[in-house]
Amino acid sequence: MSEIASRLGIGSRRSLRWGIPAILIILLYLAPQLGGSGSFRLGEYEEVLSFLVIAVALNIAMGYAGQYILGITAVFAAGAYGAILVAKYYPHDVGLVAMLVIGGVVGAAGGMIVGLPALRVGGFYLALVSLFAALAIPTVAQEWGFVGADTGIPLYAVLGFSPKLSGELLFVIVVTLVLLFTLFSWLLVHSRVGHRFVALHTSEQLASSIGITSYRTKLLAILISSTIAGVAGGVYVYTQQFFAPGSSSVQFAVLLLAGMVIGGTGTITGPLIGATIILGINQFFTSFQQYNGIVFGALLLGFAVFLPNGLMARVAVLSDRLGISSARVPGTRTGRHAAVPAVADGQVGGAANGKFGGARTAGTAARPAAARAPGAGPGPATPVRLPAWPPVIGADNSSPLIVDGARRSFGGVTAVDDVHLTVNRGQIHGLIGSNGSGKTTLLNLISRFYSLDAGQIRIGSYRLDDRPPYAVARAGVARTFQSPKLMLRETPVENVIPAVELRVRCLGVESVLRLPRGIRVNRQARAEALEILETLGLQRVITQEANALPHGTRRLVELARAIALRPSFVLLDEPAAGLSPAELELLTEVIQNLARSGVGVLLIEHNVPMVLSIADTVTCLHQGKRLFQGTPDELRADATVASVFLGIDEPLETPS
C-alpha cells in the first residue's frame, strides 16, 4: 500500500505525518480570511474555539482516564462566571491572562466539588452527578441577580473594561491557545501521568496491581480537566464579553459529547475535529437547528454502537494500511496486520537468551521432556546476572510473605478458611487445588481486592491486610491475573512502562513538561521496559497492539509487567494456562530465575507436574481449607491428597 502512496507522489511518511496537521493548523489560522472576517464573525469563530478547549479538557478525563465528567459544561460555566464577575468589579485591573487564571481556578474548584464525592462510587455516578450540576448551574443563574439573572452579564457595557486585545490579534492568540492546550494534552498522555490514566481506564484492578492510587489518579484527571475547562470559560468571556445562563446548558454538554465521540475520544485530534464539525453546524446552520437533536442523536448513537473509537481511529487504521502512521519504535514496525504472531513455537528458546533465558540447572531437569521446545536446546549454564530488587517501600529484604489464618466468606460459603502459608524469598511456593478451592480468592486477599474476615497477611511484621491494594504492590508484591489484564490498545512496551515508572522517582510535572529529569526518566522507563520484554523473548511483538497478541503472549507480557515492579514477591494466577509447550518452557525458566534472584513466588497452577517439578513447597487447598502443606515429594506420598483428588486409598508414589 505504501508503494501506492509514493507512486502517487504524496511523498515520504514523514512529510505526510507532519504535513496534514500542519495544513490543518494553517487553515485554522486563516479561517477568518477564508470564511469571511469582520469582527462579528471573528467573535463566532472564537466562541467555537473556546468550546474546542472544553473538548480537549473532556478528552483528557473521559478519553484517556475514563472518567465520564459529562457535565463539564458546568465547570466551564463556573470558570466563565468567575472570570466575568471579577472583570465586572475590577474592570481596570484584569486582562486576558488574569481572566484565564481566574477561570482555571474557579473551574478546578467546581470540578472538585462534583468529583470528590462522586468518585467515591465511580462509574456512571460521575457522569450523572456532573450532568445534574450542568443542569443546575444555568437554572440557578437564571434567577440570581448577582450573576445578572436571565440576561447575564454584558461585559462590554461595563464602564472601564476595555480589552487590550481584539480583532485578528485576539483571534490568533485564541487559536494559539487551543493549539497549546492540544499540545499539552499530547504531552500529558505520553507522560507517566498519562500512562497511569490509561492503566486506570483499562481496569482499576490492573492499576492498583502496579501500585497506582486509583482515587488520587482519578481526582488528578478531573482536576486537570476541569482546570482547562475553567480556562475555556475565561477564553469565552474575554472574547464574547458576555455570559448568560443560556451560554451553557445540558443540551450543549450533550452536543459537545456527540462531537467528541464522533471524532474519536482517546485520540488527540479526534475530539477537536468532531467538536468542530458538530458545533460548527450548530453555530452556523441555525435554520436547521430544530432538527439538530435528531441528526446529532442518531450520529451519536450510531458511533457509540458501530464505531466506538470514532472517526480518527478509522483514519489511524487507514493510514496504517498506507504505511504512513508513526512507527513507535523506529525500524521495527511491520504493520498491524503483517506481524508474525507472537512467540511461535521453536523460536522461544533462541529468542530468550537474555537475563532469564538459557540458564538450566539441575532443578529444571525434572520437567517432562514433552514441554521442551523443538528448537530450544540446552543453553549455556551461565549464572544469571540479576540486580538486587528492593521493594519500593515497606518491609526489609529478607522477610517472608506470611498468610496467617486467613478467612473469608461470601454469603454462606467460606471460600478461604483458616489458611496458613509462608512464601520465603528465593523460593517457589506452589498452590494447588481443584476449581473453587479458594486459590484465587486467597490471591485476591493478599492483593487486597477482598478484605479478610479474620487472620493476617504480612511481610515479616509489616501488615498488608489493613492497607489499600496499591500499597500491597508498592510494598513489593506483584501479581498476574487469571485472564490477563492488559491495555489492549497499547503495545507491550507501553503496558510495561507504567510498572517501571512506579519505581523511578520523578514528579508528574517533570514528566509532562519534559523537564530534564522528566526526559531522562521517560527514556529510562522505556528502555527498561524494552529490556524486560526482550529477556522474555518478546522483542518481535513490542510494536503490536496487545489486542493483536495471542493469549499466551499476553500472559508473558503480564509477567513482564509484574517483573518490572522489581518485586520481592510475585503472585502468579495460573500463568501456564493456555501456553504453548515452548511458552511453558520459557515460563518455567523465568519463574525459576525469579526465585534464584531472590524473589518469593506464589504459583497457582493446575499444571501439577510443572508445580511439582519446580516448587520448593506446595500447599493444597480443598474447599477453602488447607489440605496439605509440604515438599513436592511429601505431596506425592500423601494419602489424603491422593484420596481426595484421585479417589484412591494409596499415595501417588511410594516415597523413595
Partner: protein
C-alpha cells in the same frame, strides 16, 4: 403549619414522580447492569401522549392509558434493540451504553418537541378530576394522592415479583453473571427485553398519573431523568424501597427548600442532597453494596 403540610404533600407527590422513575431504572439495571438515562424522556413521551389524548382529542381515560402504554412500550423496545442490546453482546468495561441511551434520549426529546411545536406549556387535565381530600386540615389534590398510591403499589408489586417468582429471581441474576445465567437456561437477551417492557410499563403508569403534575413541557425529560437518578442514589442502588424513600426525600427536600429558603433555587436541593449522601454514605440509605466497577 398549614404551609408546611401543603409543601409536604406537594413534596410527596413530586417525589412520587422521581420514585417511579427510580423504580424503572432499577428494573432495567437489575437485569442488564445498564443505567437507562432515557427513562426520563420515555416518561415525557407518555406525558405528551396523555396531553394529546385528554386535552386535544378528549379521549376517555382508559383509552388514554392504553395509548400511553402503547407509545412508551414501543419506544422502550426500540431503545432496547438499537441502543442497549449491542452493548450486552459486547463484553468490556466501557460506558458506551451510557452514551447510546443518552443519544436515544436526545432523539426522543427532539422528536417530541417537533410534534408539540411552539405551543406554550399547558397543564394536562387530571385523569380522575380535580377533586381534593382534606388530610390533617389541608386540602390535598386527588392527583397527588393517586401518584403516591401508584408508586407504592408498583413498588410492592415489584417486591413480590422479584422475591416470589422464578422469573423475578432470574431477572435479578442475569446482570450479576450473564454466563452463569445462560448455563442455567436463562436467555439474557430475552430477559433484557422483558426488563425494558416492565420498566416501560412502570414508566407508562408514571406518565399517566404524573401528567397533571408535570405539565406538557417536553424539554424536561432529562431533568426528570437526573432527578430520578438522585432519588436512586440517595435511596441506594438495587433497593426498591430505597427508590421510593429516595424519591420522596428529594421531593420533600425540594418543597422545603422552596418554602424556607428560596423558591428560585429549588434545583440546588437535589444537588446538595446527592453530594451529601455520596460524601457520608456512598451506597445510599438502603444500598448494601456499592455499584460494581463498570
Amino acid at each position: 403549619m398549614t404551609l408546611f403540610l401543603t409543601a409536604l404533600f406537594a413534596g410527596l407527590a413530586v417525589g412520587s414522580v422521581y420514585g417511579l422513575i427510580a423504580l424503572s431504572y432499577t428494573v432495567v439495571f437489575n437485569s442488564t447492569a445498564i443505567f437507562n438515562i432515557a427513562q426520563g424522556d420515555l416518561m415525557m413521551a407518555g406525558v405528551l401522549t396523555s396531553y394529546f389524548c385528554l386535552d386535544r382529542w378528549h379521549l376517555p381515560e382508559i383509552v388514554t392509558l392504553l395509548m400511553i402504554i402503547g407509545v412508551v412500550e414501543a419506544l422502550s423496545l426500540v431503545e432496547e434493540r438499537i441502543a442497549v442490546r449491542p452493548f450486552l453482546r459486547r463484553p468490556g468495561t466501557t460506558l458506551g451504553w451510557f452514551i447510546a441511551t443518552l443519544a436515544f434520549s436526545l432523539i426522543i426529546e427532539t422528536v417530541a418537541s417537533i410534534i408539540y411545536g411552539q405551543n406554550p406549556v399547558v397543564p394536562i387535565p387530571a385523569a380522575f378530576g380535580n377533586g381534593t381530600l382534606v388530610i390533617a386540615g389541608v386540602h390535598v389534590a386527588t392527583k397527588f394522592i393517586l401518584a403516591f398510591a401508584v408508586m407504592i403499589v408498583v413498588m410492592i408489586a415489584l417486591e413480590i415479583f422479584y422475591k416470589r417468582s422464578w422469573l423475578g429471581t432470574a431477572m435479578r441474576g442475569v446482570a450479576e453473571d450473564r454466563e452463569v445465567a445462560a448455563l442455567r437456561g436463562i436467555d439474557g437477551l430475552r430477559i433484557s427485553r422483558l426488563a425494558f417492557l416492565i420498566a416501560g410499563l412502570v414508566t407508562a403508569l408514571a406518565a399517566f398519573v404524573v401528567a397533571p403534575i408535570v405539565s406538557a413541557d417536553v424539554t424536561v425529560g432529562l431533568t426528570y431523568a437526573l432527578k430520578g437518578f438522585i432519588a436512586l442514589s440517595v435511596g441506594g442502588f438495587g433497593s426498591l424501597r430505597g427508590c421510593v424513600i429516595g424519591g420522596l426525600l428529594l421531593g420533600v427536600a425540594e418543597q422545603m427548600f422552596d418554602l424556607y429558603i428560596n423558591s428560585n433555587y429549588e434545583i440546588l436541593a437535589g444537588l446538595i442532597l446527592v453530594l451529601l449522601v455520596l460524601a457520608v454514605r456512598p451506597t445510599g440509605l438502603f444500598g448494601t453494596r456499592a455499584v460494581r466497577e463498570v
